[in-house]
């Protein structure tokens, strides 16, 4: 899912670094808003002192809770993204600039939202754009909301329960008779490494398809 055809034309080290970067982006995009909600609302002792002071200072006159800020910003981000796609290119770019820069900056200066919430949502959104697959990206956008809601309910416990649910769902799915998690789940030596890295071409073996179905 996270490999692209261009990877085969690059050096193994460069391609592997980019694949790892995409995995990191996937994790950031999926869990960063939920992690921030869980840690800031339920486990602030995990935040280092200076960062905590900075967050408290920036939150002093903001009327909304952290969860409301994050969920609202995620919704606003999706709104901007959809508006940018549907409008013609020049207008879409203008909408994006006005929405992201001017409205965002004004909202922070007016103390409607805190800067840290903007940073978290923007980082998660940008990380989501690195996904090669549009379908995976769309699924991540939905799960981002779900995990943030799980964190709002139960903190880190909720986030982990949501992630386990997601993993269970991924392991349960099949596509045209092939397990969705293939080749990571085929039990062959080195399969997981091939998922996480792009090995040198001289070491690459053609993967066997015989064990692709879920047990």
């Amino acid at each position: 899912m996270l490999h692209v055809p261009e990877d085969r034309a690059r050096h193994a080290l460069v391609a592997s670094s980019l694949v790892l970067l995409r995995w990191l982006s996937l994790a950031l995009s999926l869990i960063l808003p939920a992690l921030f909600v869980a840690v800031a609302m339920f486990h602030p002792e995990m935040i280092p002192y200076r960062l905590l002071q900075s967050i408290i200072r920036s939150k002093q006159e903001v009327p909304f809770s952290i969860a409301a800020e994050i969920l609202g910003m995620l919704a606003a981000f999706e709104l901007l993204q959809e508006a940018g796609i549907r409008l013609p290119d020049p207008v879409g770019q203008t909408v994006s600039i006005i929405g992201a820069l001017i409205v965002g900056q004004s909202a922070v200066e007016a103390r409607v939202i805190s800067p840290i919430a903007v940073i978290v949502v923007a980082l998660a959104g940008i990380a989501g754009y690195t996904q090669p697959s549009q379908e995976l990206g769309a699924a991540i956008r939905l799960w981002r909301f779900l995990l943030a809601l799980c964190s709002l309910a139960l903190g880190l416990y909720g986030m982990m329960a949501g992630l386990m649910l997601l993993l269970w769902r991924l392991c349960d799915m099949e596509s045209l008779g092939v397990a969705y998690m293939y080749p990571a789940c085929d039990g062959e030596r080195g399969s997981l490494l091939r998922v996480l890295f792009r090995p040198p071409l001289r070491l690459e073996k053609k993967p066997r398809r015989k064990g692709g179905r879920n047990p």
Partner: protein, 305 residues
């Protein structure tokens, strides 16, 4: 159907694990971050069965002013409840406490309550440097007047850095003390005195209070037994392998440290004393200066920590 049953079971288990809360969430740990009052230094005093807890939030940070409060109660929990009532913000937050200060009288009455509080409290940690105020109370030091530069957290941070850098003393943590008390019944603790800056520290801003490191306190059976002065502290550091790079003056056996023939030599680097140094130091420093074999007044015979 099976999947939905699993989902319901996971959700039910998560709710059970989280506990209950009346704050609008089913998870009892919900806290609004902007309503937290971070505490960086805690002080404990005990007198006539009453406990006084003093807190300081550290230097002012932009729009957040420095907060210093003290409250008295029959127990530490009761004093903390009073502090909570008087605090301007909704919740005192102790997860980022950096220093613990204990008054002399409280140390003489015993550290058991303080250690127990830090052990049981879910927010606090045990790996916190602890200082005993020699000849004073923790309250006068923690709630001392002064600007951000002479705020107790900054002062103790400076004391800790300087003493460990110079090797003049070692800032033992609550965990160190608890472990040593449990293992041998005795422990060392760094001591400070409160000093008016105008008199004792002429270079500092006049009218404020600062802390000066004065050596070690020896704790026996959880109580303060006696003090070690600066020179004795250096000897104790040598024995414990905590000596830094500071020079020490040692007697040459013919008249003490002030004799013209006294040996002035740099302390060995950190680490246990080895070879001929250890017995030499023990022979000259232990009996003469540390007084390990000297039972302090009103206490059981001393044991080496």
């Amino acid at each position: 159907m099976k999947g939905w049953s699993c989902l319901a079971a996971i959700a039910a288990a998560a709710v059970v694990f989280s506990g209950c809360s009346g704050d609008g969430s089913i998870y009892s740990n919900l806290r609004e971050i902007e309503k937290l009052q971070i505490i960086q230094t805690m002080g404990f005093d005990m007198a006539q069965g009453r406990v006084t807890v003093s807190i300081s939030s550290g230097p002012a940070q932009g729009e957040l002013p420095s907060v210093k409060l003290a409250a008295e109660g029959d127990s530490i929990s009761q004093a903390l409840d009073h502090l909570q009532d008087w605090a301007a913000r909704e919740e005192l937050f102790f997860a980022h406490v950096r220093f613990v200060v204990i008054g002399e009288q409280a140390a003489r009455e015993g550290l058991a309550d303080v250690l127990d509080f830090f052990q049981r409290n879910t927010q606090t940690r045990l790996a916190l440097p602890v200082f005993i105020v020699r000849g004073g109370t923790a309250r006068e030091l923690v709630t001392c007047p002064g600007d951000d530069l002479y705020e107790i957290t900054s002062i103790l941070s400076s004391v800790q850095r300087d003493t460990e850098k110079q090797g003049s003393a070692h800032c033992f943590t609550l965990l160190d003390i608890a472990q040593r008390l449990a293992r041998s019944g005795a422990a060392l603790c760094c001591t400070v005195t409160a000093a008016q800056t105008g008199e004792n520290v002429p270079s500092a801003q006049e009218g404020t209070v600062t802390a000066l490191e004065t050596g070690y306190a020896v704790l026996q059976d959880g109580r303060l037994a006696f003090w070690l002065d600066r020179e004795e502290t250096q000897g104790a550091n040598l024995l414990l392998g905590l000596a830094g790079s500071e020079s020490v003056t040692l007697p040459d056996g013919q008249g003490g440290p002030n004799h013209p023939g006294a040996v002035r030599q740099p302390a060995p680097p950190s680490g246990p004393c080895r070879g001929r140094t250890a017995p030499w130091v023990r022979r000259w420093i232990c009996p003469a200066r540390l007084g390990w074999s000297r039972p302090p007044e009103g206490t059981s015979p001393a044991r080496r920590p």
